[in-house]
């Protein structure tokens, strides 16, 4: 028998599961997430392997969905000194790199930047001639002072060649191992937001090395010696360790994505809305063709505005531990504060003194946890009003995620799912699953590998069919680089967005392919 090990780090808990080769859950475990994150990962790994009573060498694939990158950004820890090279001069000098960044972050990253000649117009024409000597002078100056470099060219999503050449020259001078992040491979149109995402990616270099190497080494210590190891990306697919070291930023947001994917897998659906109710918050995402829908607006990461790919998640302050109150005007409020993981001490049903959403659910007979006698004194009319409030909060969030008036199918998971009613407006049907509480770790372990390629083409210059073919080929190459089996690749999404105002049938083409683990 061959097994898969999946670990997913959440805000409160770190979950681990072992699946067999038919993707059936053999064992699962929850431990508290630790401040350093890694010791929680190692504890979960150790316990789940011990309890599953399988030979560790039979684990052939190990997947990790982790928040270490997010954490490093929030805490400003282990980040690399990043030099920023913008290929744009004379354009764009009016807003220099690191503008509007938190100063504490700029300090850690050293704040070094140069805006040199290069970059393209929307038409692909050069803004100014790229000058290799000018770049070399910058590299001479920075020698020994930066640990990673971010390269950002104006309209590099139309003409990525200059960024690629810049990376070659950097590696010639600083060595092949020197980390270089290229903006065309990370973000979308919008120079500032793409530049910010590229800088963050470069800054996370050491964090990801440490995460990936720590994961691999601790697997070996547990006796898992033959496994392929992967990191989870935020689009619901996996990347090889080497790929993850090049694109650490893509791990940000992988947690909610894993929940959505795991939930869908349990419910056996590919199009649905997924509601993951935890102890403190409820996260809502949408599954399209088996993958989470992406956010279309700029996303803040650690107070920095970026535009790299992120799942579209709505999070509200409503969970199984949310505190229920009646204010002075007689209105009932629910959350956003919560007793969190202390629910088994603080909630009324467990003998505590705090009225929570779980108590309301038990009072109304929706759930059977704790001691129902302990909530019998709650006024029934009050409980009904609180339940109506909870229902309205969920319906409101669901409605915000919809793209049309049509009713949706809802998959309900998470430890706090008992507080949800059996019927919700705008929802056709609700499905639940006993393994819902570890849906995230399941999501991590069932994931495949993707290639996701984006480029801007002028259909007047490159025929549409040729452009789509080329994009698919490049997406395939990317998937193989990330660890996919070349023969298993299939096209899952082609997205063409015509760009308003730009002449020449300028269209943003985005192609996504998915394949099995090699």
């Amino acid at each position: 028998m061959k097994y898969r090990l999946g670990i997913d780090v959440g805000g409160t808990n770190t979950d681990a599961v072992i699946l067999d080769e038919h993707l059936q859950v053999i064992n699962s475990i929850k431990v508290h997430t630790t401040a350093d994150i890694e010791s929680g990962i190692y504890a979960a790994m150790h316990q789940v392997i011990q309890q599953a009573k399988i030979a560790p060498q039979q684990i052939t694939h190990a997947m990790l969905g982790t928040t270490q990158c997010t954490n490093a950004i929030v805490e400003r820890k282990h980040l690399a000194k990043v030099g920023v090279i913008r290929l744009a001069y004379p354009a764009s000098v009016a807003i220099v790199p690191y503008t509007a960044w938190p100063t504490s972050m700029v300090k850690v990253l050293s704040g070094k930047y140069e805006i040199i000649h290069g970059g393209s117009e929307y038409s692909g024409q050069p803004i100014s001639a790229f000058d290799e000597n000018e770049l070399k002078k910058v590299l001479d100056k920075w020698q020994g002072q930066v640990e990673a470099i971010a390269v950002i060219g104006v309209f590099s999503s139309i003409k990525p060649e200059q960024e690629v050449r810049t990376a070659q020259l950097i590696k010639q001078q600083y060595g092949d191992d020197f980390p270089v992040s290229l903006s065309a491979t990370i973000g979308s149109i919008g120079l500032i937001e793409r530049e910010n995402a590229t800088i963050l990616n470069a800054a996370l270099d050491k964090v990801m090395r440490r995460t990936a190497d720590g994961f691999t080494q601790s697997l070996v210590q547990e006796g898992v010696k033959n496994a392929q190891t992967y990191l989870c990306q935020n689009d619901g697919t996996l990347m090889s360790i080497d790929y993850a070291k090049a694109y650490p930023i893509l791990t940000i947001g992988s947690g909610p994505t894993n929940s959505i994917r795991g939930a869908a897998y349990l419910a056996k659906v590919k199009q649905a809305m997924v509601l993951d109710i935890g102890g403190t918050t409820a996260d809502l995402g949408v599954l399209v063709n088996g993958f989470p829908r992406e956010s279309s607006i700029a996303v803040q990461v650690g107070g920095i505005r970026t535009n790299f790919r992120m799942p579209d998640i709505v999070s509200i302050g409503l969970g199984g531990g949310s505190i229920v109150r009646e204010n002075s005007t007689g209105e009932i409020t629910v959350g956003p504060d919560s007793v969190g993981y202390q629910i088994e001490e603080k909630a009324l049903v467990f003998g505590g003194d705090t009225l929570t959403t779980t108590d309301i659910a038990v009072r109304l007979g929706q759930a059977k946890v704790g001691d129902p006698e302990k909530v019998a004194q709650i006024d029934l009319a009050f409980a009904k009003r609180a339940a109506a409030k909870i229902k309205a909060m969920l319906e409101n969030a669901i409605d915000q995620m919809k793209t049309s008036r049509d009713a949706v199918d809802l998959v309900l998971v998470g430890g706090g799912e008992i507080i949800a009613p059996t019927e919700l407006a705008g929802v056709r049907q609700i499905s639940r699953n006993p393994q819902g509480p570890v849906a995230n770790a399941i999501g991590a372990s069932i994931a495949q590998i993707s290639g996701d390629f984006e480029k801007i083409y002028s259909y007047e210059k490159v025929q549409r069919e040729r452009a789509l073919k080329e994009a698919e080929k490049l997406a395939n190459q990317q998937a193989v680089a990330a660890g996919a089996k070349a023969t298993s690749l299939s096209l899952v999404d082609v997205n063409e967005t015509p760009l308003a105002y730009a002449p020449g049938k300028t269209t943003k083409v985005r192609v996504k392919v998915v394949g099995d683990l090699a």
Partner: protein
């Protein structure tokens, strides 16, 4: 006279975005340029119209072209210094300062950048009192001030001075040059004397934007009180609260056309609103009845936070408040209505002032 610093700029950007009436471009890049400029050169001096000399010549500064391109390729920073210098020589006069031509996310900010860099004062007026899509749609045009001589320049140093026989020609010729320069360029147009500004400018627009931004950004927001304050400041009407249930868009000839449908919430429950736009919002119908039309402003804001939104950023499910604000009086004259009234935008009905339609509702 007073000085504008970073905190003033944040507020002005928000207020201008509201007066953008659904258009005016994404405020982020404009605001970042202005914040960068004052961080580098210091605060900007703001003069009111009654503080400027009648004979001095002022030069509005603006960004022209595709908003998408501006998010990727923005200016170097010295474009306007060059433009002012060359145009000053051409006119044989010194440029005394600058002012915005429109109140909108981007072009309310560009003159602040120019003022910071050049050390010249900024004057508290504009030529629209809102945002409009075309270059001849200004109160200066109505008052007989010519758009040209006009400067079009790019970050590389290319510069042209255009003189045309009508303002519509300026729009056509400048639009072509802008495309060649990479679909986004810096322009100076409608050079005006202090006297012309006093006669034609929308007085106090920068301060008005700032006050609006201040209301939206207050530390302890009280929604109803904020809404009342915005209405009091603008003499506006709260036309609707609701949720976007449908939005359709179509891009033709460089403009963004579309229509949004909103389902009523709060006191507007059971009602429905439709808004049609061409970059900026043009006409609003409530339950099939027209309640506001261009040139009066139809402004959109987040229903809870009252942070303004552009029609570009609207999507299904978004909850918005819709405000109707009366346009500057000059837009309500026969010449104003000819230039920007409903018939100019292809509607087969006459302009009706917003307060006439909505008085009974408000009362």
């Amino acid at each position: 006279m007073r000085y504008l610093d970073a905190s003033n700029i944040e507020k002005i950007a928000t207020g201008a975005s509201l007066l953008g009436a659904g258009g005016g471009g994404a405020p982020y890049i404009g605001k970042m340029m202005a914040l960068s400029a004052v961080a580098k050169y210091g605060p900007v001096k703001l003069l009111s119209l009654d503080e400027i000399d009648d004979e001095d010549v002022y030069m509005p500064a603006a960004s022209m072209g595709a908003p998408m391109v501006l998010t990727e390729k923005f200016p170097k920073g010295d474009e306007f210094a060059r433009a002012f210098n060359r145009l000053g020589n051409y006119l044989g006069t010194k440029i005394a300062g600058t002012f915005p031509m429109e109140a909108g996310g981007v072009n309310s900010m560009v003159p602040i950048v120019v003022a910071a860099q050049s050390g010249l004062p900024l004057v508290d007026c504009d030529g629209m009192g809102r945002a409009f899509p075309e270059l001849q749609m200004t109160t200066f045009h109505l008052g007989g001030v010519a758009a040209t001589p006009m400067v079009v320049t790019d970050e590389k140093g290319n510069l042209s001075i255009i003189e045309t026989i009508t303002d519509k020609w300026s729009e056509l010729l400048a639009r072509d040059q802008v495309v060649e320069m990479g679909a986004s360029a810096s322009v100076c147009l409608y050079p005006s004397t202090g006297q012309q500004m006093k006669a034609n400018g929308v007085d106090g627009i920068i301060t008005k934007c700032e006050r609006l931004g201040e209301i939206v950004h207050q530390a302890h927001p009280d929604h109803d009180q904020q809404l009342a304050a915005i209405q009091a400041l603008t003499h506006g009407y709260h036309l609707f609260d609701g949720k976007i249930i449908d939005i359709s868009r179509d891009t033709r000839a460089g403009f963004d056309y579309g229509k949004m449908t909103i389902d009523g919430l709060n006191t507007f429950e059971q009602q429905s609103m439709v808004i049609e736009f061409q970059n900026e919002n043009l006409v609003a119908y409530r339950d099939g009845k027209m309640v506001t039309c261009v040139p009066d402003l139809i402004c959109l804001a987040d229903m809870d936070s009252l942070v303004p939104c552009t029609s570009e950023s609207i999507k299904y499910g978004k909850r918005i408040a819709v405000l109707g604000l009366p346009a500057d009086q000059r837009w309500r004259t026969p010449a104003g209505i000819d230039t920007v009234g409903p018939r100019y935008f292809g509607y087969d009905f006459d302009y009706q002032p917003l307060e006439k339609i909505n008085t009974e509702v408000q009362a």
